[in-house]
Assembly symmetry: C3
Homo-oligomer: 317 residues x 3
């Protein structure tokens, strides 16, 4: 199965999509495609990473992403260990580098890290021999999320090249948006970000994306509509007058979708706020591939762990 995938990936880390080559992205998506099948078997386990140690080091709360990585690792027969900042004494009063060096001394094969500081995984990766996998760094990148998004699009649309992908919501604070912009543009898809002016970053023109404030216009044009979660805790920053106001102006509901293409895909990185950025009808409707994204997440993480940690891949680049 894996033999059929031409592997073009020779890195110890996955830090972001900004610096990956299109052939590397393609390798990851192809591998994930072949791993998907394992998750549907009665016995969902292969010995690929037996005897490997994967540490999930989450400085920001997460259940979904951490569990997805954990399931991916165990289905490849790796041993996994989790540290959350909330429950960890280790992390207190110790520098990030010291914490990771200490973990590294226990000879793990990879550390999956989520951290509030943009660039933290890159900084660690350059100082340590161990594989570092970015599970979200500040408002910077969340590469496995964008990869699972791209896998989902590719499965439905055949290819990424030529697609028009609208990303709607708080672009400024979204690492999901940034990773998708980098990844999709490399694969020759067109990205259009859309949201209230207060939620569009000032330096957006430095990124390979178009910008619009007109949500109804972009809905007509898009092959894929990716709706970002409104993080209610951000409300304090007065980026938006109110949830009701946001919902009225940018929330995606059936009415608004009437102008969309007949084969449009509705995506969301989750968890969804029903009735805020997305209506229940749309979330559960025929265009929604939100749960497929979650399924693809496990396959993408299996592929990433295989490429960075699996001996075969690194011995035979």
């Amino acid at each position: 199965m894996l033999n059929e995938v031409k592997v073009s990936f020779n890195r110890k880390d996955l830090l972001g999509l900004e610096n990956l080559e299109p052939t590397e992205i393609e390798t990851i998506l192809d591998l994930a495609e072949s791993f998907k099948e394992i998750n549907l078997r009665p016995i969902k386990k292969v010995p690929t990473l037996r005897g490997k140690t994967i540490i999930n080091l989450f400085y920001e709360p997460s259940t979904r992403t951490k569990m997805s990585f954990d399931i991916a690792a165990k289905r490849l027969s790796a041993d996994t260990f989790s540290i959350s900042k909330a429950t960890s004494s280790m992390v207190k009063g110790e520098t990030l580098l010291d914490t990771v060096r200490n973990l590294d001394a226990m000879n793990p094969d990879a550390i999956v890290i989520r951290h509030s500081a943009a660039g933290a995984p890159h900084w660690l990766a350059s100082r340590l021999d161990i594989s570092i996998i970015n599970a979200g760094d500040g408002m910077h990148e969340h590469p496995t999320q964008a990869l699972l998004d791209m896998l989902t699009m590719r499965q439905h649309k055949g290819k990424l090249e030529g697609l028009t992908v609208a990303i709607i919501g708080d672009i400024s604070h979204s690492r999901v948006a940034r990773s998708n912009i980098w990844g999709l543009s490399k694969m020759k898809a067109k990205v259009i970000v859309c949201g209230p002016p207060t939620m569009i970053p000032k330096d957006i023109n430095k990124m390979p994306t178009e910008v619009t404030y007109n949500v109804d216009e972009v809905i007509e044009e898009a092959d894929v509509i990716m709706i970002l979660r409104i993080q209610q805790e951000r409300q304090k920053e007065v980026l938006l007058p109110s949830l009701r106001e946001y919902s009225k102006l940018y929330g995606i509901n059936s009415d608004r979708l009437k102008k969309a293409k007949s084969d449009v895909l509705i995506m969301h990185p989750g968890p969804i706020n029903r009735g805020v950025e997305i209506s229940a009808e749309v979330a559960d409707g025929p265009y929604s591939v939100i749960l497929e994204q979650v399924s693809n997440g496990v396959a993408i993480r299996m592929a990433i762990l295989y490429l960075t940690v699996g001996t075969t891949a690194r011995q035979e680049p």
Copy 2:
């Protein structure tokens, strides 16, 4: 070993005992009996559920039940993953159905759920193809607890039919009591609940149990005395004047046990409050099978996971 057990169980879920057939209960107890032996081996592991994914989703705190399920699953070689509400961001601001659908998209084989809302597991089970196992829903049912109680009684008494089981304590708030009432009555045991009038549910006459407020009388008659935990946090609700008062009127101590049958069994679902609902002498005394209940809990959960998730069982009903 398992070949000798005649399997009469063809459900994807274990939701409660109210709707099980006596033959189904018997299957579970027989299977658990045969699984008990695995827990005493030097190598306590069989490959039965290798490659299966079990998620423990606990919306209410639990250590004992969660660990029992976790040990049961791993001794059958399944992979397990736990989510507790306390440490989970996933769960916040997301509906229960959305959370479970998301987990389901990662292709687990079963979700073991504890939730404060009565009926939550049933509601999920009817909407999803995945196996749902009820680890306690509100004040409704806690089926695996009652099954382990019944296994313990059957081991000591030979059979359940004809036994008189007294359940003493706060019946109103006890899902353990409810599951035992349903299960035991199906197996033709007689149940008598006993407690202060404020702790007996008003609709108790709709359940297959007798009621008494006289603890000394019921002690004389019982083959099994099941003592419920007094939950000290309930005291605020002024169900009882004080712990000392409760202990004096309903607490089980050596003195009170003098009138009991010579082969009476003392049971308690744990954790015990020594000196409140049960005296230390009784808890540690010759009639107590409290720790056997805990051991049987692992075997019961192995049986339930095997019946709902194990391929053989579901392929050959």
Copy 3:
């Protein structure tokens, strides 16, 4: 590999170093030496403890030690389960003995326990058949930490006999210091403890160690300098005027190390407070073996689990 180690250890528990024989300590160190190699393999897993159940029961917060035990157990193919006081309902309102008896009823093979009460593991070990492993009890002992320290010293110095080991810091509150004093003195190393008078226990003369308040003098003489962590939460007890004052008087920096032996070892049980008890230069400098200590910790815990839980060892004492 293991065949070459002459095993002289026939205990079910590891409670402390005070009561071990020198030959037992040697057995542990020799076995750990042979386990170290497993942690460097591409496939870091041996089937030694397959089907064994290890419970980590931590009443005090810990990430480092718990993870080290967890990794050790899984690399030997054991199944592990963790309970932390913070997240556990089990532990609330239940005696320690009841909690451990309940866990014991689930047929684990060992319980690794950290507890704030000195002697708690010993008390449990004498009441239960199960293996109890002390992962730190109050200010009493932390035997696996001292064993990993001794392994690190032996690897660098060839043998422990004749070494001079200075332990610098808050000796009064340190179980690490106590376990090292007992263990090192048994192996015929000389221990000198050093710290402000308020941090030296009054009954220090009952332990096999010398005492000094003069840090510069002891640095000249030592083959090994073990620096203890200053626990900032202890400051309230006014043991020290201020961190800056402590750092000036007892902190180990390059300047102070000029008088040290040219092959001195700098050790620290971690986590380090850079700039307080140890300067960054020293922590990262050529004499530091702090990260080797962490690596050796996994090997020591593998050896302890093997000796207490592994069938071969207990069948063939």
